[in-house]
């Protein structure tokens, strides 16, 4: 089985993220599966950034230990990652900054300067050199660069050609059989998956205040906004973002907002408003290390309980937790659709690893389209009351401008006509009406088959996992011959499905990027036994090998 890891590293500003994408593209077009983990501190220039591009002939969704190819734009990269590179690894380094190292020296800066390019083109140079070193023909390199490099392509090609020429050793790996594009695989980050899923489900408006690791969604939707006819607003705060999103919903826009934990703190009052006013909003909560500002660019899964309970009062909500880009696409579409169907908030819980990692997606495996919920699908005839009692708790949705209707929505406890009440009967009725939505919401989740089983379904050891960890656990389960269970929807919690999936495994172990084991606790609260928790709270995702070792330690 082909399974290789390429690490490219340099300083912030060197275009490392982009370089990783180009490398992945080289192999995706040839039909391989790629996964890119991008690691960077929260700064704009300097520091140490690196991307690990994993390339395999089977589906992957995490990093392995061991580097097969090390591309060092600076000395730090070599110093930090030489030890994790295999003995026989291909090493290419920037000879202008590093002297007397093992491997192949390429004078990146000199080449770029001589060709009159800008410093960031050093990564084009090293990518071309790398391609040569593993025996990829120049024509294919040129083709990829032409499709992937947006600016100054001719200059980039000159720089690339020089890099290509600088390498004479060719170490042709056996997995590279042809340079003919095959298949239809594409690359997508988790953030892009969320964005495209929302668009496919009919998103009209996106309002967000920048905060890592959710910002990619804002940038991406803004980029396609004009073509997609989506209104994108960057407001004065997350408080404004959520309240504008709620206002948009009242005005008839399918709207969403996105943030990380700190911004979500500011949104909870508006989330509660959406619930009380029964206005559909979708919010992406991209988790990073907390509490508070925490570690902005490193991963965590510590906001699950927070998402379930955020906002004052009790109210129904949907929470989805996709684990890769394809799931992000699908879950985002369902989150928007269902929030409109039931007029409740929906939360898409992601984590930094998912949000900013790049995954291989096979578009034909994605659902055709997730039908957007039609606005006025219920009869508005007769006297309109916004919160008229309905058996399933869902009242007809009208929007201002609809002929002959007066729409009174309210953050205060209200009667069916939307006017405030504080009578005992009125208060109880308001809660009961909202809670009556729950049975159908639960059924809706069940209909989506919300729990996925990976590995050996009859195994006696079962991993319980969620979010980005699911793809790692899928691989680990495959290697160890055990089972991994991933709930895609976390609220309403699909207790029956999780319980069935766990079955009568004699040991259930939760793998989560948090200290306390939040999914484990959730499962236990629903009567599902979880025996052990493998915590991780250092901001870094497990590697596949690291996780296997930990599991061995526990079960051996």
């Amino acid at each position: 089985m082909a399974d290789y890891s390429v690490l490219i590293g340099g300083k912030a500003g060197d275009g490392i993220n982009r370089a990783g994408q180009v490398i992945a593209k080289v192999f995706t077009r040839l039909g391989f599966y790629c996964y890119i983990y991008y690691d960077y501190p929260s700064l704009i220039r300097g520091g140490h950034n690196f991307s690990v591009v994993r390339i395999a002939d089977h589906p992957i969704g995490g990093r392995r230990d061991g580097i097969d190819v090390l591309l060092a734009l600076d000395a730090t990269t070599l110093k930090q990652h030489r030890s994790s590179a295999r003995k026989d690894a291909v090493v290419l380094y920037n000879a202008d900054l590093i002297h007397n190292a093992e491997g192949t020296a390429v004078s990146l800066q000199s080449i770029v300067t001589e060709e009159g390019g800008s410093p960031v083109m050093a990564n084009t140079c090293i990518i071309a050199a790398f391609c040569k070193s593993i025996g990829i023909g120049w024509d294919y390199v040129e083709e990829i660069l032409r499709s992937e490099v947006p600016h100054e392509i001719e200059k980039n090609l000159r720089v690339a050609r020089r890099g290509y020429a600088a390498v004479d050793i060719e170490k042709h790996p056996s997995f590279l059989v042809s340079e003919e594009p095959v298949g239809e695989k594409i690359l997508m980050t988790g953030n892009e998956g969320v964005a495209l899923g929302l668009v496919a489900a009919g998103l009209d408006g996106y309002v967000a205040y920048p905060m890592s690791p959710s910002t990619g969604i804002l940038h991406y939707i803004a980029e396609i906004a004009e073509e997609a006819g989506i209104t994108v607003i960057q407001p004065e705060s997350e408080i404004a973002a959520m309240n504008m999103t709620v206002g948009m919903a009242y005005g008839g826009f399918r709207a969403a907002t996105g943030t990380a934990g700190g911004g979500f703190n500011l949104m909870t009052e508006g989330l509660s408003l959406a619930a009380m006013a029964e206005l559909p909003v979708t919010v992406i909560l991209a988790q990073r290390v907390g509490p508070s500002t925490g570690t902005p660019t490193y991963t965590a899964q510590a906001d699950l309980h927070y998402a379930i309970h955020a906002g004052n009062g009790e109210f129904p909500r949907f929470i989805f937790a996709p684990g890769d880009a394809a799931q992000a696409y699908e879950c985002a579409g369902h989150a928007l659709r269902l929030s409109w169907k039931y007029q409740v908030p929906s939360i898409i819980l992601t984590d930094k690893t998912l949000a900013e990692s790049t995954y291989t997606v096979e578009p034909s495996n994605l659902p055709d389209s997730i039908p957007a919920q039609p606005m006025n699908d219920r009869n508005l005839e007769g006297l309109y009351e916004r919160y008229i009692d309905a058996e399933d708790g869902v009242s007809p949705y009208a929007i201002p401008g609809d002929i002959g209707v007066t729409i009174k929505v309210n953050s205060k406890t209200h009667n069916p006509d939307g006017i405030s009440t504080d009578t005992a009967e009125g208060v109880a009725r308001c809660t009961e009406k909202q809670m009556r939505k729950l049975p159908a919401m639960r059924q809706e989740i069940s209909d989506l088959r919300p729990v996925i089983i990976y590995g050996n379904p009859d195994a006696e050891i079962c991993i319980l996992c969620w979010g980005s960890n699911a793809q790692l656990c899928r691989e680990v389960a495959g290697h160890l011959g055990i089972k991994a269970v991933q709930p895609l929807a976390l609220w309403p919690f699909p207790a029956g499905e999780v319980s069935d999936a766990v079955g009568d495994s004699w040991m259930v172990i939760s793998v989560e990027d948090n200290y306390t084991g939040q999914l484990a606790e959730l499962a236990r609260n629903h009567g599902i036994r979880v025996d052990l928790h493998i915590p991780k709270y250092d901001g870094r995702p497990h590697t596949i090998d690291g996780l296997m070792e930990l599991l061995w330690g526990m079960v051996a």
Binding site: L203, A240, V246, G247, P400, G401, V405, S411, S420
Partner: protein, 283 residues
């Protein structure tokens, strides 16, 4: 609910409260707008939380009874979603000058076509008389038994002028006819408009006599003259003893924020096609 403009909800404002004057001024303006051909269904009132907010329960039109301080953010979302709506915000002074000040400043900065009517009773009415950013320096309340002289008010109109507010007026609940005209003018104005309304709070700050002695309509004031507007707005600092100008103090026509979103709207089929295209192009 019937077709009248006042609902059956029981009114719980205190006797002599200035909110009655604002309610009826707004109602009269809305009746007038509808007579002029504005569809009733296209008028939306967004209220904050406070005594003023109850107006959402009392007016029989589409309303959004929102959060304390957040009415303008909610209203901004509504107006962007549907620029054809007439969006009016009724907000308190605690509501919009304290809790939600950022949204007020940003609505002015953006020049979104929304009207904010500030029920400026210069106290937190509903929570029983604590001080607000416009409470007079002589004011005492339970949260500041010794008075607010060490934390004097700011002048919200100066803040609004600095923020690019394109329509600024000051009304007074004991000048209901003028108030009605100002609210109408503000709503008709294309762009963000604010009517700071000096409102009598019968229970906590009943200072009608103080206002009656000082309010005046500046003769010959040209609201398009920014410097003149700054001068008049600066006369009274919401604290001391000075003449208090009423009327339209500043007005400037500028492009509105929501205008640029009109062209965007696409239908769902087009969006789904775009997603397919993006995926194809990524190969």
């Amino acid at each position: 609910m019937n077709q009248s403009f006042i609902t059956d909800a029981q009114n719980t404002w205190c006797m002599g409260c200035g909110n009655f004057a604002i309610l009826h001024a707004i109602k009269d303006v809305i009746v007038g707008l509808i007579e002029d051909g504005v569809p009733r269904e296209s008028i939306v009132l967004v209220a904050g939380i406070g005594c003023h907010g109850k107006i959402a329960d009392y007016l029989n039109i589409s309303t959004f009874y929102s959060l304390h301080g957040r009415a303008l953010a909610v209203a901004t979302g509504i107006k962007i979603a549907n620029p054809d709506l007439t969006v009016i915000c009724t907000v308190g002074d605690g509501d919009s000058y304290a809790e939600g000040l950022a949204h007020l400043i940003f609505a002015a900065k953006r020049n979104i076509d929304i009207t904010a009517i500030v029920h400026n009773n210069r106290v937190y009415g509903l929570t029983k008389g604590q001080y607000t950013p416009t409470s007079p320096g002589t004011y005492h309340g339970k949260s500041i038994p010794k008075g607010v002289s060490d934390d004097p008010p700011f002048n919200p109109l100066e803040i609004l002028l600095c923020s690019g507010c394109g329509f600024l007026a000051r009304g007074y609940t004991q000048r209901q006819e003028q108030l009605t005209d100002l609210i109408r003018e503000a709503i008709v104005h294309k762009g963000f408009s604010v009517v700071d309304t000096l409102q009598i709070c019968a229970s906590f700050l009943d200072i009608g006599d103080f206002y009656n002695e000082r309010v005046y309509v500046p003769a010959g004031h040209n609201p398009e003259d920014f410097d003149a507007a700054c001068r008049i707005v600066g006369e009274w600092d919401y604290d001391g003893d000075a003449p208090i100008a009423l009327g339209t103090l500043y007005r400037k026509e500028m492009p509105t924020y929501e205008g640029r979103f009109r062209v965007l709207q696409k239908n769902d089929v087009e969006r789904a096609k775009l997603v397919e295209k993006i995926m194809r192009e990524r190969r």
